[in-house]
Symmetry: C2
Subunit: 429 residues, 2 copies
């Protein structure tokens, strides 16, 4: 592992954090293609939001360095090998997942301008423009900020202190993997790109999962790493689709329909394991209650907020009510996982549904307790669509701590989607 | 650290363990020069002795691989850069430590033949010929066997298991160094070549000591690493000198004089920090009692067997009896050290003498408890002069467990040197 040496070198020359346009989550590309077809002209704004105010990013990270890294991302374009891989690779058992017209557009793409300001110890970082372009900023923006924060903390450490830091993190991850391999029918993927410690570390984590878990490790959400390590790229869709569709709704009736409109567009484009419902944007309970019948035939569901066990139980009941056999359905857990939670959910749902895990921050960025003041502890940084064609977006989710949007709009959405009281839980990552 | 990757590769291509004639202890070269001047024609036999019979080296290590490695050592000769370094470098504050006639001889040297047989699960490995040549086999022979044993144990491990193994060993060493740096006036050197886990690991340990201990780290006994890392090469003399001189003695009177004859030759050649008494070959107590007065003026003493605290107290009393100020004398501890022992001796002798430590096996080969069956636990392998001009050598030391030689000769030596009962202690390394 030469990571420590590399990190040691970060501080005396520029070392680009994001070096490829496909160093991003696979679902961003799937969604981008869908948006490119269905909503290419929509204007959106994406904005960085640090939900952990105590981590004062603007005090930690030099603005000049941040600009250099973001400018570097803007200089990237798809390489020939990357384009070949996207065009020729089999994703979810399907060839030519990406249509020629989309690929041509993507090959010509450079990421649009960014707007950066400091306020109250935080960076205000926003991206505005056409949805298909702007949305591709999300992952590189997060990766750049996460890794600059890591570098800022590690800057004062000697080469051997760094080696020992990575030795400890390595040992910790390996011990987690040793525990997980006890779970005989485990299926788990890396979802850790956005909050990773750094690219090299994520790449190492993926290799450790490959060696330690074998077939239990189903792939990575990161396209660059999937290509590099010749493994499956994993992912389907995310909250930005219902959030933007909802913001574009002309009235309450259209708003209530927006989440299903998203999935109807998706249904038309994808089948099999790509038909995964993400039900929590405006409350899982109401979403399932009002869902059209055709949705019950989808392959599975992804649980990304609230109490995951309760949400999965609700999904099981819903499938049963619609005459579906839950044992043939896939439940993907992807919110705030670590080994204990994975073990608990695995045992709770083993044999009742097909279970899969998307493991994020605690896979690719668990440096808790390894440096003074716990300065590498995970924190909750997101980059979200905040407006579409000039209207604010809203997210409710199953955890009010994750809600976002203007207060009056939140109230309106709660009314339209029939969301009552929710249980708040702390958002760590 | 790419050690894990390297170890992973050991098993599919030949990877020479010893790659340089100066990948050896500095004191071997100092002694070699002395022997080359004073006893060049003496015939000696050196032999490998594994004092830990439970480690069955011949079962672990393939004979073909061992021969390949030993043959490779025989193919080595001094490189131009190595010769330049030996001729030009300053050792112990002195330039041209190595005389031109010795350097010319050394530049032309290839190591002599070896004789290898298997017996009772062990290798019988012997070297015969002229003393200055044969004696240079000691360190490479030990390094080859130690590292082949490490490789044999690691052979079945995956790349990530290896990474985690080294991560744990790294963390352990760093924690030791963190403890040692608390000792404000510590002086410590690496003496771990002969029983190292492997060359790369020793080189890493030395760099860790450099970064973690700064000035407290005084250097390494390994010439290649001293050259590579631009630090001090450390060492003076060893038991082989009195052992061979004693074996060559014609009668008991000459035998009793032999240890002092060695030091008289050394006195003529060296001064300052190279005048270090090694008193235990035939019992420290008697050695000091019968020592000539001029020896009390020497710079210090090295404690290499028995109870180190007691031996150092005896040395202090001896200096005081001879009118010397112990506070100006150097005591070097070099037997079976680990952090606890170093701390204990440091506090016991701080301010009473100048204290220095030569840290060996537990610096460069502490993998205890890190693999199943503790298969990397340290063990006691030595390579010693067993005869000189056809007569057997004898070593008594201050620990009867370290005694060697034919029983009748041991009895004679005990009589001549007035060695009574000794306390046995387990020899771990």
């Amino acid at each position: 592992m030469d990571i420590a040496a590399r990190v040691h070198n970060h501080n005396w020359k520029i070392d680009p954090i994001v070096r490829s346009l496909i160093d991003t989550d696979f679902y961003k590309l799937l969604m981008c293609q869908s948006i490119y077809r269905n909503k290419p002209e929509t204007s959106v704004a994406f904005s960085l939001i640090n939900r952990t105010k105590s981590v004062r990013l603007a005090d930690l990270i030099d603005e000049g360095e941040l600009r250099e890294q973001l400018d570097h991302v803007r200089s990237l374009s798809l390489s020939r090998g990357e384009s070949t891989w996207l065009r020729g690779n089999m994703f979810y058992g399907k060839r030519q997942m990406f249509r020629p017209d989309f690929m041509e557009w993507f090959e010509g793409l450079r990421l649009p301008a960014y707007h950066l300001e400091k306020r109250d110890g935080q960076y205000e970082l926003t991206f505005e423009g056409q949805w298909p372009e702007v949305m591709l900023w999300e992952i590189p923006a997060l990766a750049v900020l996460m890794e600059l924060r890591s570098r800022a903390v590690l800057k004062g450490m000697g080469k051997f202190e760094l080696q020992v830091l990575y030795a400890r993190a390595t040992t910790r991850l390996w011990e987690k993997i040793q525990r997980l391999r006890q779970l005989e029918r485990l299926k788990i993927a890396d979802f850790g790109t956005r909050r990773r410690h750094g690219f090299l570390w994520q790449d190492w984590c993926v290799q450790a999962m490959q060696e330690g878990l074998g077939d239990k490790f189903t792939g990575t959400s990161n396209c660059k790493i999937a290509m590099r390590r010749d493994i499956e790229a994993i992912g389907t869709n995310a909250h930005e689709l219902p959030m933007v569709y909802a913001a574009l709704a002309q009235d309450d009736a259209e708003l209530a329909e927006a989440p299903y409109r998203v999935l109807a567009d998706w249904h038309e484009e994808h089948d099999g394991n790509l038909r995964i419902i993400l039900p929590d944007t405006y409350g899982t309970e109401g979403f399932l209650k009002r869902a059209p019948d055709w949705l019950a035939s989808w392959t599975g569901i992804r649980i990304d907020s609230g109490d995951p066990g309760q949400a999965a139980e609700a999904a099981i009941r819903w499938w049963q009510e619609r005459g579906e056999d839950p044992r043939r359905k896939l439940v993907i857990f992807s919110d705030g996982l670590d080994v204990e939670k994975i073990e608990e959910l695995y045992h709770q749902f083993l044999g009742r549904v097909k279970v899969s895990f998307g493991w994020g921050t605690n896979l690719t960025n668990d440096f808790r307790g390894l440096v003074p003041n716990d300065a590498l502890a995970p924190f909750s940084l997101v980059c979200k669509a905040v407006s579409a064609d000039g209207r604010p977006t809203v997210k409710l989710s199953d955890n009010p701590s994750k809600a976002m949007g203007p207060a009056d709009e939140i109230a309106r959405y709660k009314r339209v989607f029939g969301v009552g009281d929710q249980v708040a839980s702390e958002v760590l990552v």
